[in-house]
């Protein structure tokens, strides 16, 4: 007697046509982004590596890239200081006008950034609403504070929104439990709420910083000098053309990508505490 081997029925493996269409469209989007970035970086490396090396050893270029990162970092820190408490209130409290407040905080995301620059100038310019009385103490126009203010304006919403989602994901019962165990509100916030929302805060901070570094329109209106990376690229493009500006652009992209990838890898080890 032989052993009967049941032949498995051939599984018809065919994706749904709709999914095929979705795969195709997502591939188009992915390639669109990838080709644009990769073409610039690879093209630069293959055709004009010397130009990249030149840019990387040029003092004004390095200075402008460092300024972008540093000013963006300051804007992110201020966003954290102001945005985290705001986000906590929005996540925990209900009050009349809450929707208005939320929309207000999102306005910088939707207005054109040159418009934001003009608006900032009328407030922080030498004759501006705050710029004039602060004139003896702090300069915004064509100065570091102006860059930070412009970056803060356009990037703070990213941090506030992410932090708000983070705080919302922390069950208020956990804070209640902490309080009943003897923790005043600030201790419950520091030892329970903040650690549980930390991933959202980190992602929000990265988004905020990335947005600050990539800002050009608002910054250039209020502070053409000292030049941040994007301003220098624009300046070189106008005065010396594409071949002079591209190496700086590639360098800026490589530096920022490296930092973001590093942060992502470091934070990947963090545990995610989802509610169940």
């Amino acid at each position: 007697m032989g052993i009967l081997i049941k032949q498995k029925p051939a599984i018809i493996k065919r994706a749904d046509p709709l999914m095929l269409l979705f795969y195709f469209l997502s591939l188009v989007l992915l390639l669109f982004v990838f080709v644009v970035i990769a073409n610039m970086i690879i093209g630069q490396v293959l055709t004009d590596f010397a130009g990249l090396v030149d840019a990387a050893s040029s003092k004004p270029v390095l200075k402008s890239i460092f300024l972008s990162l540093y000013a963006g970092f300051l804007a992110t820190m201020i966003s954290l200081l102001l945005g985290v408490p705001t986000a906590y209130i929005l996540a925990r409290k209900n009050f009349t006008g809450k929707r208005f407040v939320e929309s207000m905080l999102d306005v910088p995301v939707v207005i054109p950034h040159t418009v934001a620059g003009i608006a900032l100038l009328t407030v922080f310019g030498a004759n501006g609403l705050l710029g004039a009385p602060l004139q003896p103490y702090i300069q915004f126009r064509d100065a570091m504070p102006g860059i930070v203010v412009a970056m803060l304006f356009v990037s703070a919403p990213y941090l506030t929104n992410s932090a708000r989602e983070g705080f919302k994901s922390v069950d208020p019962k956990l804070e209640n439990a902490a309080r009943s165990l003897g923790a005043p509100l600030w201790k419950a916030f520091v030892f329970v709420t903040l650690p549980l929302a930390s991933r959202h805060l980190l992602i929000g901070s990265i988004m905020c910083w990335a947005r600050a570094i990539s800002e050009f329109g608002a910054v250039v209106m209020i502070a053409y000098y000292p030049m941040i990376g994007p301003t220098l690229i624009y300046d070189r493009y106008l005065s010396q053309g594409l071949s002079a500006s591209r190496p700086i652009a590639v360098l800026l992209i490589l530096v920022t990508l490296t930092i973001f990838i590093a942060v992502r890898i470091l934070s990947a080890g963090w545990r995610v505490y989802d509610r169940d």
């Binding site: 209640n176 439990a177 009943s180 165990l181 003897g182 549980l196 505490y273």
Partner: protein, 351 residues
Amino acid sequence: MIEIKGLHRNWKEFRLAGIDLKIRDGEYFVILGPTGAGKTLLLELVAGFYQPDGGEISIGGKNVIGLPPEKRNIGFVYQDYSLFPHMNAKKNIEFGMQMRGIKNRSKKAVEEIAGYLNIGHLLHRHPNTLSGGEQQRVALARVLVIDPDVLLLDEPLSALDPGTQDATRKILKSIHSDSNLTVIHVTHDQTEARILADRIAVMMDGRIVQVGTPDEVFDKPVNDEVAHFVGVENVLKGEVIESSNGVCVLDIGGKVLEAVSECAIGDTVYACLRPENVTLSKTGVNSSARNSFEGSLLEVERMGALVRAKVDMDGSFLLNAFVTNQSADELGLMCGEPVVVSFKASAVHVV
């Protein structure tokens, strides 16, 4: 003593209207009511998570209105335990002592409480790796270790499976008898209330409708609403007089009842019996049911597709039975008439 006077508060769809309660020291006090009665809100007001719109709460003679939760020295356990997910069990238990700045005796205290609740082997684990019953014990350890004046329990058993419920109920009972702690326990489960409570407050639609011992509440409900709510389950208190081969014989108010269960002779137990498992007849039926009693029909109530019959066993105990409309008509149920109730020994759940 915990004294609540004229407490009221409106909150979303819940409304507490003029709550008056006195809970004695060392009492196991159960607040029993249907879902949405405002029980949890009342507990949270006592804990101080919310402030009332008006009224008074005092704990141990001290008015606590306006006092934040961290100053009330209460232990609060939520239905879903609310363990801190980013800390292991040990860190969770230590949290209260850390917040109070007690460090020197914390190690010993954690070991003691962990031993008492049998969670010593779980201390290094994070809450999301623990079962419901284990989480519950860690949550209890976390509040007991700070030696609270009063323990507030919000539906502590309702998220657990039946087996774990029985075990946890025993733990709550022994915590209370070992520590003489004042406990306020909120639940919608009548069996739980009857078994654990020294006294019960029945809460409906944001008000307290009856306060009394379990016997008072279950045998003499103040109105139809309470009767309806507490009357559907049969929970009978008795003593084990015989036990062999997984069958035990209980003495319930002089009547002898058999149940499939492992018990120790002499124990005081509760026999729980669902009304749909009770058969009603005029003359007694020949069936595999081991328990059969003659009684008189006390009350008949039509509840849609079913009829609820309340039968008095010569004053020994009361039993609720569900019969269908059709069989109620066939039997011709009339109040005051003699009837025979029977049920299987396996239908009795002994706790």
